[in-house]
Amino acid sequence: MRKFWKVARHEFLTTVTRRSFLLALILVPLVPALLLGLFNLLNRGNENNLMEIFAREVANPLPFGVYDQSGLIKDYPDWLTKGALIEMKDEATAREAVSSGRLQGFYKIDANYLESGRVVLIKPEISMFTGVAQSEGVTDLINYNLMGSSQDLYLRYTNPIQFEASPINPETADTRDTSNMANFFVPYAITMFFYFIIIFSSSMMLNSVAKEKENRVMEVLISSTDPLSLFVGKIIGLSSVGLLQVLVWLGSAIGLMRVAGKSFDVLRGIVIPWSSLAWAIPIFLLGYFIYGSLMAGLGAISTNLKEANQSVFIITIPLIFALLSMGQLIQAPNGTISVVLSLVPFTSPIAMMTRLSIGKVPLAQILICIVLLAVMAWLIVNGVAKLFRAQTLLTGQKFKIGSFLKTMFAR
């Protein structure tokens, strides 16, 4: 068993010095960082931030006219129209203003408006989206005047309730700023991140074992060290690689969020509960031990990498199930299904991380999750160690989940 450190060191160094790995490790955070730097460069010297510049570029600066035949519109307050709507005394004046390019177009409010609700937009170009896109301003103006030009009444109408949700159990409260829509995407991003990282790291284990069989180097290895040292060394070496990847990518994500917030309003208010995500390290490692070991077992019994890859889906079904349950996990992070998925060791590496990214999860549940993961990881590592026998490693067979589990858990 003393040689497992040598195996671990070799696995770590050969993987992290591989060009494809280094490119992925560096480029994944570097590309968004470069894009961000480019945007910042373009934005330099502008008083407004980049998003506002984009918005301003898209907006047409010309106002619309309003020709009111009904006599309903008494008031055109600046705080409401912001200069985008101008009163027109008659239709001819309005048409002339449009023709001379002082107006985009004008609204003609029907004389019988209160009965018919009819408003006609007259402008040079009419598209199928015109009504949807350009009726908002005049609607606000009509609503305001319908309310007797009362600013207070109008503002209450447009914002009738100041909603507050108060959780019965503050410990499990959603800590995100719900006023920022970007926060809704954070759990999705974190779930995908952990799904990808566990699959990626475990696949390295499968590749490592299957390639040693395929390259026929396995016999030399097990004549130099025992199969268990080989297995333990691979687990330690490649889990360190996965951990390095998690730390680099998560660290880059934190840095990028901070920098990006200065340029993008949409990112400024994003709340990521980093303190909760500290649990990610033990949960990722234990999840890796489970899936990495299963992949190693698959590599050990398969004849070559191609055959092994064909059976990967069977092993990753629980993770895929957790991923497909992401909607349920995000909608009801403390519901029964979410709690069960975040405690069952095969789905918890993803499900618990999703819940932690949404809000506080009761400490007891986190601890139960980690204990169950640790017990399952121990059982799987021991089970797969049984597959790491010379006879299995030097031969190959078709993967059958039944015989695979039978061998793993045989006494």
Binding site: K3, E212, V217, L221
Partner: protein, 302 residues
Amino acid sequence: MPTITVEKISKTFGTTKAVNDVSFEVNPGEIFGLLGPNGSGKTTSIRILLDIYKADSGRVDILGGTMDEEKKNRIGYLPEERGLYQDVPLETCLVYLATLKGMKKAEIMNKLPGYLEKFDLAAHKKKKVKELSKGMQQKAQLIATLIHDPEVIIIDEPFSALDPVNTQLVKDLLIEQRNAGKTIVMCTHQMNQVEMLCDRIVLIHNGRVLLYGGLQDIREQFSTNEVLINTGNGLPGALPGVLEIRDEGTVKRLIPEDGVTPKQLLNSLVSAGVDLKTFEIATPTMDEIFIKVVQEDENPHE
């Protein structure tokens, strides 16, 4: 005291008895040939010897006791199924394999350049293994087998994929190792190499030992009183004591009647006035012995 003692080992896979009651000893400073046709149980015997497989019964003593992790560092093994990490540079691959044999990095970096030079691989050390030819990979694997200066060298088909120049290089290397007192177990199908290199052999067929002993003893055991001659003139139609004369190209084989010795044949030839250029007792080649023994084992009643 033998370096390796294999005592009545047996191993069954499913319903196939791969090794059946095999025993042999290998002594220090000898090249021992482990011979047999494909599927005869040679590789399984070697794997049991190296503790890769556990024998169902029997016992193996190596370097003064049963195998342990420390002893694995004192053994060099070149398996029949060659293999190296294909996607890593040659030097990295050899350093890792040497590390697993207990060598320190500094020691490896001190010895490796010499080996790479000797095997004409120094210029290729930074290349990925998959970029090397089959012969180069074979030589690289020999380096991995020998770099840690093992006391026991177990080597399966060492000459496969090697050109004549490199075959000679490996032969010289094996002789050098034997002269240095190393114990060498060599599996090969090339009987001419066995005749040139091996001191003793064991021949296994269907998992059982058919022949075991010194090479010269075995050849004598299988020798008949037949002689090979080369003459300056022709041979008379009949010679006293000669049952049959076979033309074998440059030489003629004289098959004697029962009980007639080579010495009596020589007297007959001289008496008949034959102009003898060469006279040689026809000791069977290892190829002939191998074929004869294996065929007899397969068809014992023929």
